[in-house]
């Protein structure tokens, strides 16, 4: 595997679970053992506990006979010879290669974005730097109102910092959630005392006398100054290695429903892979723990002789302040949405595509989220009319579906 992130780790673990006895090697650019990223924008910023991030301790890899090569970048794939070459010049041959190279922070066209002190948040190294900067900063400026920027904003605000979020679009997390959920989270952050500026595209980074980042200037000339600047404007998939090897790439390494790339000896998964998903028109790149791990399991089963198309229901979560947002299904392609409040502090938003349930967004409603995951896995899908008929009681519907199955 190229990469030692969430997906590569899961694939190695699942291969052993499935009884694979061949050699498994993980080569990754980052130092250390595979770790989880979600806490980096949540608990880690507060606690700073590196040990809590590890997916497994070192003994796991020894026990499972998994060879880890950290701190080593793969620079070339020689598909003819079925081998990869690393930066230090080592060659490793493979029967099957899995690209689990993840993604990296996008660098938007903002003047001065390279200035020292413009922080990002993708890796443990980034999170350490951000924590260190937070320790001395009174104020923080977040460029980008997506999941990671907002999770950071919630932690920084709770820690007493003056926080401003600049979002270029007209609402928060617009790429991933419905307008109803955006609105709820806007209220939440405003309620925490965070300043949120929507429709605020940043033109340039402001610097102090020493050239360090000290704020941002919007296209309209407004200036926002702060001690700390976090650039959180999304990611780009790490596809260069695949491209150079001649694999098909289009916003991600293209795979079929079995996670195979255009080379039958190479699979791809996780943040770097664009995978056919349900009835979505184009292959999708899902940036989530669920996608990386479920795709890893599907590849592990295929490589151990039990191939089945990848059909897992996508799910995702984000913790911001007192709100836990959970998303089940593909809400992005929805054409209609409908909001239900089972209780005042619980929100459930149903997202439909052409009259069928495509996804469900919930805030502080884990039971509804789990029910949605059960229902979205059903074939044929649930229609909007059916839901209305059942009073939107998805928990009862999921229960009935489970009972019918057993």
């Amino acid at each position: 595997m190229v990469g030692t992130g969430q997906g590569a780790f899961q694939l190695a673990a699942s291969l052993r679970d499935e009884g694979f006895i061949g050699a498994i090697t993980l080569i990754g650019e980052e130092p250390g053992l595979p770790y989880q990223r979600p806490p980096l924008s949540k608990a880690y910023l507060d606690e700073g506990r590196d040990d809590r991030l590890l997916l497994r301790p070192e003994s796991f890899y020894a026990r499972q006979d998994i060879a880890l090569i950290p701190g080593e970048r793969v620079v070339e794939i020689d598909r003819g010879a079925q081998r990869v070459v690393t930066r230090s010049g080592t060659r490793h041959t493979y029967d099957h290669l899995v690209l689990a190279t993840g993604a990296r922070n996008a660098r938007p066209p903002i003047a001065g974005a390279e200035a020292p002190g413009v922080l990002g948040l993708r890796s443990l190294a980034d999170a350490r730097a951000l924590r260190a900067a937070m320790a001395t900063a009174q104020s923080a400026l977040v460029i980008g109102g997506g999941f990671i920027g907002l999770e950071f904003a919630a932690v920084a605000r709770a820690a007493g910092r003056v926080v401003t979020v600049l979002e270029a679009g007209p609402r928060l997390m617009a790429r991933a959630v419905s307008a109803a959920v955006s609105a709820r989270f806007l209220d939440l952050h405003l309620g925490m005392g965070t300043q949120i500026v929507l429709g605020a595209p940043v033109a340039a980074i402001l610097t102090d006398g020493t050239g360090r980042a000290a704020g941002a200037r919007l296209l309209d000339g407004t200036e926002h100054r702060a001690d700390l600047v976090l650039l959180a404007t999304g990611v780009r998939p790490n596809t260069e290695l695949a491209e150079a090897a001649g694999l098909s790439v289009a916003n991600g390494i293209l795979t079929d429903v079995h996670l195979l790339t255009s080379d039958p000896a190479i699979s791809a998964l996780g943040d770097c892979a664009a995978v056919p998903q349900g009835d979505a028109a184009v292959p999708l790149r899902l940036e989530s723990v669920q996608a990386a791990t479920d795709q890893a399991r599907a590849i592990a089963r295929r490589l151990t002789g039990n191939p089945a198309p990848y059909t897992a229901v996508p799910w995702f979560w984000s913790d911001q302040g007192t709100a836990k947002l959970q998303i089940a299904g593909l809400t992005a392609g929805a054409t209609e949405t409908e909001r239900i409040y089972p209780e005042p502090d619980r929100t459930v938003v149903f997202c439909y595509r052409m009259g069928h349930l495509a996804g469900v967004e919930t805030i502080n409603a884990p039971g509804d989220h789990m029910a949605a995951r059960t229902l979205l896995a059903l074939q044929p899908g649930i229609t909007r009319a059916e839901l209305a008929e059942r009073g939107h009681d998805i928990r009862a519907m999921a229960k009935a579906a489970k009972e019918a199955r057993s």
């Binding site: 989880q36 979600p38 806490p39 040990d51 809590r52 590890l54 997916l55 497994r56 301790p57 003994s59 796991f60 026990r63 723990v289 791990t293 399991r297 799910w315 979560w317 913790d319 836990k324 959970q326 502080n364 884990p366 039971g367 789990m370 995951r373 059960t374």
Partner: protein, 107 residues
Amino acid sequence: MPRVIFVTPDGTRTEVEGVAGDSVMATAIAHDIVGIVAECGGSMMCATCHCYVEDAWSARIGQRSDGEEEMLESAACEVRDTSRLSCQITLSSDLDGLVVHLPDAQT
């Protein structure tokens, strides 16, 4: 250092030293205990950290947390009165010697 004893379905007991404030799940992962998967890393999103708390401890361990009950419904194995998500149990000196039983499967 609160100790935790993990018991596999076949009765094998493993005793480990945990850290007060850590969850039972984090303790299991840190000690490479087979049988706790914890895919979501303790975010109460996956129910792959399911465990059964030994009867004698059930009272001391406290209530299931908000939403835990609902997540448990999705656990891979039978949910019993003693079922908990191990990421929602926090170790403390009161829980020194806690015994938890691992289910047959998590996924």
